[in-house]
């Protein structure tokens, strides 16, 4: 019996499937045609690398699969592969990401355009295997590009785009595509899969080790010992650091272009850096990140029906932080409530809230702000939670400010 086919809604797409975010990421990996994939399983990422492994076993991905003994080896193996000119992929999260840390923060400095999915998971302790963005947020100052997805379709699309961004010669940096553990990793919905030939055209020819290589024909010192207080060290070290910072800044424009071209070819248009939702006539707004945003938009619509002039700002690209785009959005309102799925221990708030505070200084106008933290360790953030956040943010407008974060699941 023939399986009834799902109708396609967008150009440049080959088929429509029903799958979860982990499978969607695996389809993206297949489309990107990596040369080397190294994996070690960890909840809630495990099914992602199982799908990728299956695709390799089926010949759908023609890549070398390395099942190694732990995440430190995973990324170290990919360093070698990238230095040899290979396109590479891995995925991890939580404690696996922690175990990967030493090669992880070496990667941006070597300017290796590795793409790694972070199926975000909350931190330990206490013990938890559920979603949350604490793992990714802990890594925010390592020099990796971090992009957060809202939907399963966006996971697929953005994971492909990540290669275009990472390998751009003005960028040459590793990219983390972050998708929320549980809600996106296991959330099932309809997804359209782009055509291979269209993706091939979109990504173009890869040229990954033009700048740094393990190549007998081009001998060079890779990751040299440099720095110190004398000789050429200090200037050399600054050149590395400054170059990395410049690459991050270049990424902002490259991320925008990657999204614009994607929209043109595949018909799906995502705000690359910061999305503004019902913001133009808003008095105040929520700021959100990741898969929580859908329910938050529903709450904004409900509040609008009650006559409240509220909008929403969603951040997609968190590293590099889109300071100009965020500041432009913030200037449209007089109060913001920032909802984080992780904790900034240093400031007793959420990490996104702290970034927003810096933008408020740039905005140069009085805008009241409050921090909300929710969805930790798999906790749900529903329209009801966002309705409360909207009410509390409205009170900021009236001058009722608060210093400590509002913990949205505290009384669940």
């Amino acid at each position: 019996m023939a399986t009834p086919a799902l109708k396609l809604k967008h150009p440049g797409c080959a088929q429509s499937i029903v799958c979860d975010g982990n499978e969607a990421a695996a389809w993206a990996v297949a489309l990107a045609r990596p040369d080397v994939v190294a994996v070690y399983p960890i909840t809630p990422q495990s099914s992602l690398v199982e799908y990728v492994s299956q695709f390799i076993a089926d010949g759908k991905i023609e890549a070398e699969l390395m099942n190694v003994e732990g995440e430190h080896s995973v990324l170290s193996a990919l360093h070698g592969a990238a230095l040899a000119g290979g396109r590479t992929y891995t995925a991890t999260c939580g404690p696996g990401l922690a175990f990967m840390f030493e090669p992880y923060w070496r990667t941006p400095g070597m300017r290796l355009p590795i793409v790694a999915s972070l199926v975000t998971r909350d931190g330990i302790t206490p013990q938890c295997v559920w979603g949350g963005q604490q793992d990714a947020m802990t890594m925010k100052e390592t020099g990796w590009i971090q992009i957060y997805c809202e939907t399963v379709q966006e996971v697929l699309d953005t994971t492909v785009m990540a290669y275009r961004i990472a390998e751009h010669h003005d960028v040459m940096l590793p990219v983390n595509i972050c998708h929320d553990g549980n809600y996106l990793s296991y959330g099932v919905t309809q997804v359209e899969v782009p055509e291979q030939s269209a993706v091939d055209d979109y990504l173009g020819e890869k040229n990954i080790n033009w700048h740094v290589a393990l190549d007998p024909l081009r001998p060079m010192a890779v990751d040299p010992l440099t720095g110190g207080a004398g000789g050429p060290g200090p200037a050399k070290f600054v050149a590395y650091r400054k170059g990395l910072c410049q690459g991050m800044q270049n990424a902002l424009g490259v991320i925008e272009q990657a999204h614009a071209d994607w929209a043109e070819i595949f018909g799906r248009d995502y705000a690359p850096l910061v999305e503004e939702y019902r913001l133009d006539d808003a008095d105040y707004a929520l700021v959100t990140i990741g898969s929580m945003t859908g329910a938050a938009k529903d709450a904004v619509d409900s509040a609008r029906e009650r006559g409240q002039k509220v909008g929403l700002i969603k951040i997609k690209t968190f590293r590099p932080f889109p300071v100009a785009a965020m500041t432009r959005a913030l200037k449209k309102v007089r109060a913001v409530g920032v909802v984080d799925r992780s904790v900034h221990y240093g400031w007793d708030c959420g990490p996104l809230y702290q970034e927003v505070l810096s933008c408020l200084y740039r905005a140069g106008q009085p805008i009241a702000a409050g921090s909300f933290i929710g969805g930790l360790a798999g906790a749900d953030l529903t329209e009801g939670h966002f309705a409360r956040a909207i009410e509390r943010t409205a009170q900021l407008l009236a001058g009722d400010e608060f210093d400590s974060p509002v913990w949205l699941n505290e009384h669940d």
Binding site: M1, P4, V18, T189, G294, K297
Partner: protein, 199 residues
């Protein structure tokens, strides 16, 4: 007569089972079938440490409009219970909406289910007995999808078959499950509440 639930655009389904019975797989198959019926679908399994036999739930929204919320289900209008003993272990009726439907694996009567007033329709399926005949084991997940199709009319048997075919069963497993879905559909009994009785 059109009930409030039938007028509702978005439906919320909560599927109860036990670890190892395939509740999550069933929700994936159902999601595929609903998409084939032209519905927008988001299905999310509840999650925990996977233990065979422990109560598990899977959540699903479907609508003729795009769905943005990626959240669990707290106010279902369809409850699918693929294990006869689960109602004794968890409150399957938590948050149930007026005019809701319970689709229950049981060999007992509607009266025995102690449904709250909000549940106005029950679909009974002796899924354990069917499972023992089809699989030689008490597997009920796909049988109960057949019962859901009968209860709602929103998915067809063809849609469920397509969902099964994309679920990577081995050949014999696929054959058995195709039979299971069809028997679940054909052998379910629909009862409507009339006051204190079910007819």
């Amino acid at each position: 007569m059109t009930t409030a639930v039938e007028q509702k655009i978005t439906h919320e389904v909560r599927l109860h089972g036990r670890g190892g019975q395939g509740a999550v797989l069933a929700s994936k198959i159902l999601a595929k079938a609903l998409v084939l019926s032209g519905q927008h679908v988001t299905a999310i399994p509840s999650f925990g440490f996977e233990r065979r036999g422990a109560p598990v739930a899977a959540f699903m929204r479907y609508s003729n409009r795009p769905i943005r919320a990626v959240t669990n289900i707290y106010a279902p209008d369809y409850i699918i219970c693929i294990d006869p003993s689960i109602p004794k272990a968890v409150d399957i009726f938590a948050g149930v909406q007026p005019d809701s439907t319970l689709i229950q694996a049981t060999r007992n009567s509607a009266e025995s289910l102690s449904c709250p007033a909000a549940v106005t329709r029950v679909v009974l399926c002796d899924a354990i007995a069917i499972g023992m005949e089809v699989f030689r084991r008490p597997i009920t997940n796909t049988i109960m999808l057949g019962a859901f199709a009968k209860a709602t009319g929103i998915v067809t048997l063809d849609g469920l078959r397509a969902g099964l075919e994309s679920a990577n069963f081995r050949d014999a497993g696929l054959e058995q499950n195709l039979i299971a879905v069809e028997r679940g559909f054909n052998e379910s009994i629909v009862k409507q509440r009339q006051g204190d009785t079910w007819v």
